[in-house]
């Protein structure tokens, strides 16, 4: 099980070092702090909208999870900075990640 194989199934998991417990982002095989092996945490993670803009009818937002992971995600409703959201859809398309939140 690795981050991308789970993401390709539509599941967002959080990579964490087995040794020092640091969240490792972007996901890699080894911890960027101690080079320990990385495992994936399962859960219904809530993220906070840090900033956003809009292109055509879609908003794109910077979302922060666990005070360390930041991703850019698409959102259809009007966002607000500080608003808490969850990932509603995610995956891999054309070798790149995609995320939707609401």
């Amino acid at each position: 099980m690795n981050f991308e194989s789970e993401l390709s199934k539509g599941k967002f998991m959080i990579p964490e070092c087995d040794v020092c417990k640091k969240i490792v982002w972007p996901p890699t095989e080894f911890c960027d702090n101690c080079f320990g092996p990385v495992s994936l945490k399962n859960g219904e993670f809530e993220g906070k909208i840090i900033e956003f803009s809009k292109q055509n009818n879609d908003y794109f937002c910077v979302i922060e999870f666990e005070s360390i992971i930041k991703i850019m995600a698409k959102m259809s409703e009007i966002p607000e900075v500080g608003q808490m959201v969850k990932i509603s859809k995610c995956g891999i398309s054309n070798e790149g990640y995609f995320f939707y939140v609401n």
Partner: protein
């Protein structure tokens, strides 16, 4: 440590022409030799090529096409600040004694693969630079209650200055209303807020103090170098309203040169998008946090070319691998009082700011007569 000087330079116009990368590289190199007949090809012991182009072995190829057989020949890629990274590498070769004279040629085509960092999956499907630029712009406007019209002055100023640069991509002047009416890319970014990918090349020769003085009567010296990389991922920026890597690189470069920002007479800064100019001015210390646009307004209203005299990236165009070298050539020309209608009065000390991937990496150089 012996001084490292800028002994010669050459450039091509920045255009959207279809040209092979090898051809563009050769043209700026040819221009460099035409500009300075004292250079002996046999004295060049390193050739560095700065580019994001996917073509292989470009430095040996350029060397062969130009009739040079260097000891050292390789390419350097670091997205948008490849050019100044190449200059820093060349400086290091000379300062260490591994080389005495180095040709550095930067080039890019308008369709460069370096415009998009595919690795940065934290950006999700928003990998084009217009998306990080939109987030920077929205944050900056929010933090300082800035309007789109106020930011548009950056583009107006830099296009006006580019009009005096015969090699610039743009030959047009625009009003704030023109910028506001240009194509809307996102809610926070218009087309004229953006530097444009283009085809172009710039070449420069660095040499030891002795060789520099043999080649030119008007030498310019690299007296300060600062570099900092904070991450590769855009979203790892601690702030979307200031440039951490630029702050650190500037402090290092100014300390090395024994100067402060107040001593700088002229500067080329990395205005990839309108918002980048006030952010960079603040991070480099030219203004207080949030005061960058006041300085831009003042410079524009007084027709002062101190910042981005060649028109910056917005006016000149942005052929990634050539940009940092072109910026360095502009400051060299300014210090040599050789910048024609762009000339800044009493230019003795200049600064170059060149960055990559949403300011995750920055290079700052200080040049002096």
């Amino acid at each position: 440590m012996s001084k490292v000087g800028i002994a010669a330079y050459g450039t091509t116009p920045f255009t959207i022409d279809e040209q092979k990368i090898e051809s563009v590289l050769l043209k700026s190199t040819k221009n460099l030799f035409e500009n300075n007949s004292k250079i002996n090809k046999k004295d060049i012991d390193a050739v560095l090529v700065s580019t994001n182009n996917n073509s292989k072995y470009l430095s040996p190829i350029l060397s062969e096409m130009a009739g040079i057989q260097p000891k050292i020949a390789h390419s350097i890629e670091s997205l948008c600040n490849s050019g100044t990274n190449s200059i820093v590498s060349a400086y290091s070769y000379i300062a260490s004694g591994l080389a005495e004279m180095i040709l550095i040629s930067g080039a890019e085509r308008h369709d460069s693969p370096g415009q998009i960092l595919q690795w940065d999956n934290s950006r999700g499907e928003f990998k084009h630079p217009i998306f990080w630029a939109s987030i920077f712009t929205k944050s900056y406007k929010r933090e300082f209650s800035i309007s789109d019209e106020r930011l548009a002055v950056v583009s107006v100023k830099n296009h006006k200055q580019a009009k005096e640069n015969p090699n610039a991509y743009s030959n047009n002047t625009y009003t704030v209303q023109d910028v506001m009416n240009s194509k809307k890319l996102t809610d926070d970014l218009k087309l004229l807020d953006c530097s444009r990918p283009c085809t172009g090349s710039a070449s420069i020769i660095l040499a030891t103090e002795e060789l520099t003085k043999n080649i030119t009567d008007n030498p310019v010296w690299i007296t300060g170098i600062g570099q900092k990389t904070t991450s590769a991922s855009f979203t790892k920026n601690k702030s979307f309203t200031s440039m951490e890597s630029t702050k650190i690189a500037a402090q290092s470069a100014l300390k090395m040169s024994n100067h402060t920002t107040n001593d700088i007479d002229v500067a080329e800064i990395h205005d990839a998008f309108s918002v980048c100019e006030p952010m960079a001015l603040e991070s480099l210390g030219f203004s207080d946090y949030g005061g960058g646009l006041d300085l831009v307004d003042e410079l524009y209203e007084t027709n002062n070319f101190k910042i981005n005299p060649r028109g910056g990236l917005i006016g000149s165009g942005h052929p990634l691998g050539a940009t940092g070298i072109s910026q360095t050539i502009e400051i060299t020309q300014q210090l040599q009082s050789n910048a024609n209608n762009r000339q800044v009065d009493d230019a003795n000390i200049g600064l170059i700011h060149n960055m990559s991937a949403a300011a995750t990496s920055s290079t700052v150089l200080v040049l002096e007569k």
